[in-house]
């Protein structure tokens, strides 16, 4: 530009500043779509939630559904399993935090890992918190480990009937995804 550092900005040079500034605004606005396009698109977002009908799941049975690419363990627990889970003192637990996704940390009691009034339904992300394998225990013939819940065949982690880690290398309880009961027999995950 035809000025030295000492001269004050004149009206002539204002046009250059204005033009440059206006160009920069446009360039930034043009950059946004390039960045935004990499975010999950509408079809991915439409699969952000999954609904599940619980009516066909008998007591003592479990199903695995996919949610956001992850397996979700849904178990219709028996009274026995619920009682066993409630009987465990917190001090016995390897991981004392409930691990509910997107919720503040709370003690890993059986009540905190299920919904009020619906304690027979256990909904968890079926990914072992050690190195990501899918634990066994959903089917009746599966190995369930010493605590009657789930057993991870990769490195021997054992989870109890509330999905909490009791033995083995896994550091945390199986995570609880965000979900809600739409009716007594239907849940929406995510």
């Amino acid at each position: 530009m035809a000025i030295t550092m000492d001269e004050p900005v004149t009206r002539r040079d204002f046009i250059h500043i204005a033009a440059t500034a206006f160009t920069t605004i446009g360039a930034a606005a043009a950059l946004w779509p390039l960045i935004s396009q990499m975010n999950p698109d509408r079809s991915a977002l439409s699969l952000a939630s999954t609904e599940l009908d619980l009516a066909p799941i008998q007591e003592g049975q479990a199903v695995t559904v996919m949610w956001r690419g992850k397996p979700i363990f849904v178990r219709h627990r028996t009274a026995d399993e619920i009682q066993k889970a409630k009987a465990v003192p917190l001090s016995d637990l390897k991981d004392p935090i409930a691990r509910v996704v997107d919720a503040p940390d709370e003690p890993a009691t059986d009540e905190n890992r299920t919904k009020a009034g619906k304690e027979q339904w256990l909904v968890m992300i079926g990914i072992c918190t050690h190195l990501g394998c899918i634990p066994k225990g959903q089917k009746n013939g599966d190995e369930k480990g010493a605590y009657g819940g789930w057993f991870c065949p990769c490195h021997g982690s054992m989870y109890d009937t509330a999905g909490r880690i009791r033995q083995g290398p896994a550091p945390q309880n199986l995570a609880i995804p965000p979900y809600a009961f739409e009716t007594d027999t239907k849940i929406k995950i995510g």
Binding site: A2, R12, H16, A18, A19, F22, T23, G26, A29, R42
Partner: protein
Amino acid sequence: MKFVSQRSFVRLAGALMVLAFCGGLSAAEEEGQVVEKQDWTFNGLTGYYDKAQLRRGFMVYKNVCAACHGLRLLSYRNLGEPGGPEFSEANVTQFAADAQVTDGPNDDGEMFQRPGKPSDRFVSPYPNEKAAAAAQNGAVPPDLSVMAKARSYERHAAWYMSPVIWVSDLFTTYQEAGPDYIVALLRGYAEPPAGVTLASGMNYNKAFPGYQIAMPKPLSDGQVDYSDGTPATVDNYSKDVAAFLMWTAEPKLEERKRMGLKVLVYLVILAGLLYLSKRTIWRDVEH
């Protein structure tokens, strides 16, 4: 770059163009497909979709066209998303659930049917093209997802009218040749004129290239109930379903045109600023 005898050349060119324009216009409809230009709300710099029209159009599609034509590039949730017919969530869930979607394999290794969800793609009436052809005497009813962009029509004007058409299309932002054609097609069924024999299984249509189309006339008055009081005529059905198909082909039209206006205004202002900046810089230099 100066022309020799520029003024007389320009006058001659002007006279020729006026002549061409008048001659060309009258030649426009002598032969070929009979397609009229329609008025559309989505034409032009401020184009938009009339939601009520899109909803009526969807009802026509659902009740008449969906029997044979798929819409496989759309998902049911699109019916509720902004920029389209914007049906309520309840309606969208209902439309989806009305359809049976093939899912699976289940734990027995079999595919099974289940009611649709909004995230599912529209279910096509036939599983594949061969099934469609078998059911339709060898003719495959095409999928309608992008039909409004996949069709155009011959203008059939005199050869010298080409540049006139190009320029006038550019200034009117004419992008509606597809819907215009669809309307003309749906309204174009008629008795074949004297001397024309129809091939077996074909129907005469004034707008279809070659005039013989395998699809029998799909629309008749009163066929679909319009709950908003619009007269239930073939003319309205054809207009509404064509508008709906324009949306299925271009669901982002409103967003695109809104953004376009902002971008054009921005660019014009920026051009002005840059021009002034350039002039200022060049002012002191002889050039």
